[in-house]
Symmetry: C2
Subunit: 140 residues, 2 copies
C-alpha cells in the first residue's frame, strides 16, 4: 500500500485545524470514503482536535472514540487501518471527508462498510454480508 499522503507542515496543519468547526463537545463528524473501486462510503465517526491533527500529521486515520473517550487509531486492535489519501472540509467547516485506502474492512461486523442496513418496504434489511468474522478481526 502506497503512503499516498504528504503531511502538511506544522503551520498548514494549524490553519486547517483552525478552519474546522468543532461542536460544543469538541468533536467534528468525519466521513471515510474508499479512495478507489466503488468509492464506497465506509463509515462516519468523530474527531476531536487532537485526532484531526494526528491524522493530518501521520496520514493514518485517527478518530476520537466517544464511548472510550480516547483517541481511536483505526485498526489498532483489528489491523483494519485507514491510510489517508485526501482530506476535505465542507463549506461551513463542520464536517470532514476523507478519501482512504482501507486495509480489509471498515466495519466491526466484518463488512466493508458500516452502512449496510438498508431501508426497504418491510423495514431494514442487511444489504451486504460480512467478509470476515468479527472473531477473526478481534481475536475473540
Amino acid at each position: 500500500m502506497s503512503a499516498g499522503w504528504v503531511a502538511p507542515g506544522a503551520e498548514a496543519i494549524e490553519a486547517i485545524v483552525a478552519a474546522a468547526r468543532f461542536d460544543a463537545t469538541g468533536l467534528i463528524a468525519a466521513i471515510a470514503q474508499a479512495a478507489d473501486g466503488e468509492r464506497e462510503v465506509l463509515m462516519l465517526a468523530w474527531m476531536n482536535e487532537a485526532a484531526l491533527r494526528e491524522t493530518l500529521a501521520t496520514g493514518r486515520v485517527c478518530y476520537y472514540s466517544r464511548s472510550r473517550q480516547a483517541l481511536w487509531r483505526k485498526g489498532e486492535t483489528s489491523g483494519q487501518r485507514q491510510q489517508l489519501r485526501s482530506l476535505r472540509l465542507d463549506c461551513d467547516g463542520d464536517a470532514v471527508l476523507m478519501a482512504v485506502e482501507q486495509t480489509g474492512v471498515a466495519c466491526h461486523t466484518g463488512r466493508v462498510s458500516c452502512f449496510y442496513r438498508e431501508a426497504g418496504s418491510t423495514g431494514l434489511l442487511d444489504a451486504t454480508a460480512p467478509l470476515v468474522s468479527p472473531e477473526t478481526l478481534y481475536g475473540r
Copy 2:
C-alpha cells in the same frame, strides 16, 4: 428524473425510525452521496425524527436546519432538490447514508459538493469551482 424511490409502508417507516439513534439534541447525521457518476459525497447535514420520516415517506430529502430550527426541504429555495434512491443506517444506527439524484448542485456556494476545501501542503485550497453563482441559486 425518475422517482427512484418506493416509500416503505407506515409500519416499516416506524421500524426504520425506531432503529435510528438520535443524539441528545434529537438529531442524526445524514450523508448525501450522488447515486451516479463519481458517487461523490455531496454534503453532510442533520435530520430529526420528523425529517427522517418525511424523507422516507416522500422520497424527497428533508433535513433539519440547526440554524433555522426547522425542517429543511432541500431545494425549497434554490430548486436544488435531492431525490432519494436508497437510504441506509450504519451498524450502530447513529448515521444515515443516502444515495440521491441531485438536481443541480448541493452546495450553497454553487459547487457540486460542499466538500471542496482540500488540505494541502500550504493549508486549505479550493479543490473545485462553483458551477453556478449563489446569486443565481438564491435570486439575490
